[in-house]
């Protein structure tokens, strides 16, 4: 082999060893999932029950009641009459075009994903803000979670848990949880050092500092994280529908494969409407939280 050849073609490993490598990893994982798949699935059973219960609740309750509940939440969150009226019109149109049931499925999975992301993400974010070492360890994992194409981690999830709601939920959470972790960490780290010093000077212990000073002051930033998490969860709806999650994603998928333009557009617009409602409500709520927190100087 002469030198120019060495530079022109990459000295790669042989096809044979690459095949062996893939085969052994796949085999090991397949064995693992055969062995522990059921156990792991059982772990997620409570989540599944909750998800199903929540979806049924949304779908089986009378629609005017649901709309009323949503509008009350919108108004409490945003204190804006325009946004409330806009939401009403959007919801009525969604129902009129026959997308009510799918929308409720989507709302339920987004809701559960958001709650789980908050429940998991905030403690992780707190741990990260507490130690630089934890931060150094977690940050690259978050980078991978956000940039790895979701199809790639769908493969092992589906291998392990099959097709259905739980794998979809996991896929959505993996994609949507990083912002809330990052922004919890950021929000706590951004708390004014002098204010923390004051808390120290009055003899506050770690828990008192966290719950009375750090978390309340970080709340607007954390809320920005929640907002991002909801948006990203919505963005995953179509992909999640590929592994059997019901909701607005499925008609979109059907529309792609059959070239039903109007069907795709309507369902897409429904997703957009949900996104705008969620976004505006959580943003204006976050802004209201910020009112008195912008520092103690005039």
């Amino acid at each position: 082999m002469n030198l120019s050849e060495l530079f022109l073609t990459f000295p790669e490993m042989s096809k044979e060893s690459l095949r062996m490598f893939r085969k052994s990893v796949d085999g090991a994982y397949r064995n693992f999932s055969r062995e522990y798949g059921d156990t792991i699935e059982a772990v997620f059973d409570p989540v599944l029950y909750f998800l199903v219960w929540f979806e049924k609740l949304l779908q089986n309750s009378p629609w005017p009641l649901i709309i009323l509940a949503i509008l009350i939440l919108v108004y409490l969150g945003s204190r804006s009459i325009y946004l409330t009226i806009g939401s009403l019109i959007a919801l009525l149109l969604i129902g009129y075009f026959g997308m009510w049931e799918d929308t409720m499925s989507t709302v339920s999975i987004i809701g559960v994903c958001t709650f789980m992301s908050i429940g998991l993400g905030i403690p992780i974010g707190i741990a990260m803000s507490n130690s630089d070492r934890a931060r150094a360890a977690i940050t690259p994992i978050l980078d991978v979670m956000q940039t790895m194409p979701s199809f790639v981690y769908l493969i092992p999830v589906v291998m392990l848990l099959g097709i259905g709601k739980i794998p979809g939920l996991l896929a959505v959470i993996i994609y949507a949880i990083p912002p809330i972790i990052r922004l919890t960490d950021l929000g706590i780290r951004e708390v004014d050092k002098e204010v923390l010093e004051a808390a120290d000077a009055f003899g506050a212990n770690k828990a008192q500092k966290l719950f009375r000073v750090q978390l309340p002051l970080a709340l607007p930033t954390i809320f920005a994280g929640i907002n991002q998490t909801i948006m990203m969860a919505l963005a995953m709806v179509v992909i999640a529908s590929m592994i059997g999650v019901k909701g607005l994603g499925q008609p979109v998928l059907k529309a792609i494969t059959n070239q039903y333009f109007t069907m795709g557009l309507l369902n897409g617009l429904a997703i957009v409407a949900l996104a705008i409602i969620f976004d505006r409500v959580s943003q204006s709520f976050g802004k209201r939280l910020q009112q008195h927190r912008s520092g103690s100087r005039e």
Binding site: E194, A201, F202, G203, A204, R212, R293, G295, R297, E298
Partner: protein, 341 residues
């Protein structure tokens, strides 16, 4: 003389990752600059020895970077010393464990910060209550105590406002009320009035002196402003580059500066405004009826009219109107002469 409340002994602070390693070199006389250039460590405090009298106002003065904020943070151990001890009421607080340190901070010290450091998410009442709520006191009791201090600092009616709705002076009054609400023996004030504009600052100084008359706290007051130091301090400690260069009362600092640094510091001060009659008093002697009478605690400046109409000097009386001594006119002229130099 009162008993010693805070006793600082051989206190060193070196900032850097390996501070313990260089302590012996510093003790052997390595300078701040040498430590920085050779080992990249910063000498914060260099062998500080200071006794703070109970119920007195001890001012610590110095330019920025002189270590005064570092020193005050050793009293409640917001900064850990590299070496040396700080005792409060005879107890070495550098030896306290975590829990005891929290208790010490909750009960013994209150702190007021240069830039207020109020909790922006809490209203004034909750800010003032903070120290009390940390101690998990009974809610209604702590509200009552907080309201008492809000009234004391003149902020009644503002208890439901938030810090960013208040002016700087008002915010610092909240800071003062917050520090006093837990009724600590020791009040640590880190450039507490430096961020306020001059009129408000004078106001706050007067208010502090006024409060102190009844409270009798031990106050450690950091400032870079000599006028403030002279006005407030029973004793004034002057720091330069982490070293304590002089500790004395206003007269000692003014009349016998320990070195050129202190002399430069005090050279522009209006002495007759600061010096009191008692510092130039000749005790005993006879009352000269032809001379006017002044109080022992008056400043020389305040006695100027009396000085002008006097024949040979002043009669001096104490607070109870007892004759305590006299001041000759020549002595006053001498002081006036000196203050012109």
């Amino acid at each position: 003389m009162n008993k010693t409340k805070i006793k600082i002994t051989n206190l060193y602070k070196i900032f850097g990752n390996n501070s313990k390693k260089y302590i012996s070199s510093v003790r052997d006389g390595m300078s701040k600059d040498e430590l920085l250039s050779k080992y990249n460590h910063v000498l914060g405090l260099d062998n500080i020895n200071l006794n703070v009298e109970d119920q007195s106002i001890q001012v610590v003065m110095g330019l920025s970077g002189s270590g005064k904020s570092t020193l005050i943070r050793h009293i409640n151990r917001l900064i850990e010393p590299t070496e040396g001890t700080v005792t409060v009421d005879g107890e070495d607080i550098t030896k306290l464990n975590k829990m005891d340190l929290l208790e010490f901070r909750r009960n013994k010290t209150g702190m007021v910060f240069q830039r207020f450091a109020l909790f922006p998410h809490q209203n004034i009442l909750d800010n003032v209550q903070f120290g009390l709520s940390i101690k998990n006191l009974d809610k209604s009791d702590s509200i009552e105590r907080a309201m008492y201090w809000i009234e004391k600092v003149g902020l009644t009616g503002f208890e439901n406002k938030f810090p960013n709705q208040l002016s700087g002076g008002m915010q610092q009054r909240v800071g003062l009320a917050r520090a006093l609400a837990t009724d600590p023996d020791i009040l640590l004030m880190d450039e507490a009035f430096s961020a306020l504009d001059p009129l408000i600052r004078t106001d706050m100084q007067d208010q502090l002196l006024d409060l102190q008359k009844n409270l009798n706290k031990t106050i450690m007051f950091i400032t870079h402003d000599l006028d403030e130091a002279l006005k407030l301090g029973d004793r004034i400690a002057i720091l330069n580059g982490g070293k304590l260069v002089q500790d004395g009362n206003a007269e000692e600092i003014l009349l016998k500066p320990a070195d050129q640094y202190v002399a430069n510091f005090v050279k522009d001060v209006n002495r007759i405004k600061v010096l009191k009659i008692k510092t130039i008093l000749d005790q005993g002697g006879e009352r000269a009826n032809s001379n006017p009478t002044v109080n022992v605690n008056d400043s020389i400046e305040n006695c100027m009219p009396a000085i002008l109409e006097s024949q040979s000097g002043l009669n001096v009386i104490d607070e109870k109107n007892n004759f305590v001594g006299s001041v000759s006119k020549n002595k006053i002229i001498d002081i006036l002469q000196k203050s012109k130099d």
